[in-house]
Amino acid sequence: MMEAIAIISIFVLASFVGFEVVSKVSSTLHTPLMSGANAIHGVILVGAIIVADHAETSLELGLSVTAIILATVNMVGGFVVTDRMLEMFKGKARDNSNKSKGEK
């Protein structure tokens, strides 16, 4: 019972944190943010490794190894592609901060 309450608490609190952190974001950053969040759910890799670790039959192993490959592609590829997108904002972000400093 305690277990269930703890899990529900984690779920609800994490939902609110998720809602809060991205509630104000300019449309310019929508794509990188989506891509970054996309990479974060690649953490399912952890789950894939756990099931692979206790896989006994070759069916279980085959499926979990496939899951590891897919999850790694999701995670690693996701972070790399997000970084490439953000690299292009470098100059722009600097201009932006200078501009806002100038205004203040």
């Binding site: 899990i7 984690i10 779920f11 994490a14 939902s15 609110f16 944190v17 809602f19 952190v21 991205v22 974001v25 449309s27 310019t28 950053l29 929508h30 794509t31 990188p32 943010l33 989506m34 891509s35 969040a37 996309n38 974060i40 759910h41 690649g42 399912i44 890799l45 952890v46 789950g47 756990i50 099931v51 692979a52 670790d53 896989a55 279980e60 496939t66 899951a67 590891i68 490959i69 897919l70 999850a71 790694t72 999701n74 690693v76 590829g77 996701g78 972070f79 592609v81 997000t82 970084d83 490439r84 997108m85 690299e87 292009m88 904002f89 470098k90 100059g91 722009k92 201009d95 501009k99």
Partner: protein, 459 residues
């Protein structure tokens, strides 16, 4: 490693993910945010090898599979053209959903009869949503890569087929919960894959980014659910974070496009097949030469450049900056009007123009630039179509109706640089092309721009 120590370090990874999302929401901290995400993911991945519950089996397989994943993922992400980035993100999201579904299936086979009711329900949820996310993302990939039609795919009775499939998914879910067994689960996975395809097919091209974002949130929730089945707190935290932030992001995107989320997803089911597009085939248009365009620009006082996906495809971002610099040096006021969803994803063109070092002050968002069009002499539309299509205002029932547009029709002259008369991504005709004040310059955007630049230099 002691399991509470492991959990505590896992919490650190969770904090990294929160800070990562927070960082990614602000231009200045975005890159650091992404790196924090990498840190969190690295911690999480290393940590799982030190769990006290580990049986230490299949280690070689695990390491090998990770290596293969890296070998596939990194080059794909590094080599992809900036223009093809949206579909790559869609694909990454799809494989993530597929991975979550597979994890749930393996765990289900493993648990067998010992699974508790809550675990079975979480498994069913993960398999259904993971498979929908997987196949749905593949369809969005095919649409964005233009390997299939980008227009909404609507077939007679489609609504009933979708409703029947959904009923089937729900029914089989009940079967799995009631009967427990590998066959029902397999049927469920299969039906969910089919449902994912049917779910995305009727979505029109311009709405695809919203769907990707929604599927992204879905995948997040499946990760959270599998975290519950596997008793891995970190997965619950990370998955829920992505699910929640993805939902908000989906809503923000839908708002930026002036659509209701519901309308985006289910609008196509109620829309009739497009009418009035066939009649437009052979109507006269005014097409010009690069010299005509150069003259129009040369005598303008204010020019607004409206870039679209065509500019991205032609890699014309550097040439367009050259043109803008040239015009500025002639004392002409130049601005870029960027539609929130120009390109294939929100912010796509901001990324490309930033790459070409276009000054930030020249990039105007839609709300800033729209009131200035009546004072604008020339609106130069480069490879954009749907985002300036007046049909969004005038034709109720067309796929983009209600989407805010850049009001280029208010400008003195409108120049379209287009490859052909082919309609835009949403697959609808643009009346503005036939307007008297519109000049069309056909050809690849980069080549056309280069010609305009050289004749402008001669004036």
């Amino acid at each position: 490693m002691n399991s509470s120590v492991n959990d505590l370090i896992g919490l650190l990874a969770g904090v990294c993910f929160i800070l990562s999302l927070k960082g990614l929401s602000h231009p200045r901290t975005a890159r650091r945010g992404n790196l924090l995400g990498v840190l969190g993911a690295t911690i999480a991945t290393i940590l799982v090898f030190f769990r006290s519950e580990n049986e230490g089996r299949n280690l070689i397989w695990i390491i090998g599979a990770i290596a293969i994943g890296v070998i596939i993922g990194v080059p794909a992400a590094r080599k992809v053209q900036m223009t093809a980035m949206p579909q790559l993100v869609a694909l990454f999201n799809g494989v993530g959903g597929g991975a979550a579904a597979l994890v749930a299936i393996v765990e289900y086979i493993k648990l067998g009869d010992s699974a508790s009711l809550a675990e079975v329900i979480a498994t069913v949820f993960t398999v259904v949503v993971g498979c929908v996310s997987f196949s749905g993302s593949i369809v969005t990939f095919l649409k964005l890569q233009e390997l299939m039609t980008t227009a909404p795919v609507i077939f007679p009775g489609g609504r009933f087929v979708i409703a029947a499939t959904l009923t089937g998914v729900l029914g089989v879910s009940g079967w799995v919960v009631g009967a427990l067994g590998n066959t029902p689960l397999l049927v469920l996975a299969l039906l969910s894959v089919i449902f994912g395809v049917l779910f995305v097919l009727p979505v029109g091209g311009a709405d695809v980014p919203i769907v990707i974002s929604l599927l992204n949130a879905f995948t997040g929730l499946t990760v959270a659910a599998s975290g519950y089945v596997l008793n891995a707190t970190l997965l619950i935290i990370a998955g829920t974070l992505v699910g929640a932030s993805g939902t908000i992001l989906t809503r923000l995107m839908a708002e930026a496009m002036g659509r209701s989320l519901f309308g985006t997803l289910f609008g196509a089911f109620t829309a009739k097949p497009q009418s009035g597009t066939a009649a437009a085939e052979n109507r006269p248009v005014k097409s010009g030469t690069p010299d005509d365009v150069a003259i129009l620009l040369n005598y303008a006082r204010r020019v607004v450049i409206v870039p679209g996906f065509g500019l991205a495809v032609a890699q014309a971002q550097h040439t367009v900056r050259e043109l803008a610099d040239l015009l500025t040096s002639k004392g002409i006021d130049v601005a870029y009007g960027i539609h929130p969803v120009a390109g294939r994803m929100p912010g796509h063109l901001n990324v490309l123009l930033a790459e070409a070092n276009v000054p930030y002050e020249q990039l105007s968002e839609m709300d800033e630039v729209n009131p200035t069009f009546p004072q604008t002499d020339v609106a130069l539309v480069i490879g954009a179509n749907d985002v300036v299509n007046p049909a969004a205002k005038t034709t109720p029932g067309c796929p983009i109706y209600g989407m805010p547009i850049l009001d280029v029709a208010q400008a003195g002259n409108v120049i379209f640089l287009k490859r052909s008369m082919r309609p835009g991504f949403a697959g609808i005709e643009n009346e503005l092309l036939f307007d008297a004040k519109t000049t069309l310059l056909f050809g690849d955007a980069k080549a056309s721009l280069a010609k305009v630049v050289s004749s402008l230099k001669g004036l």
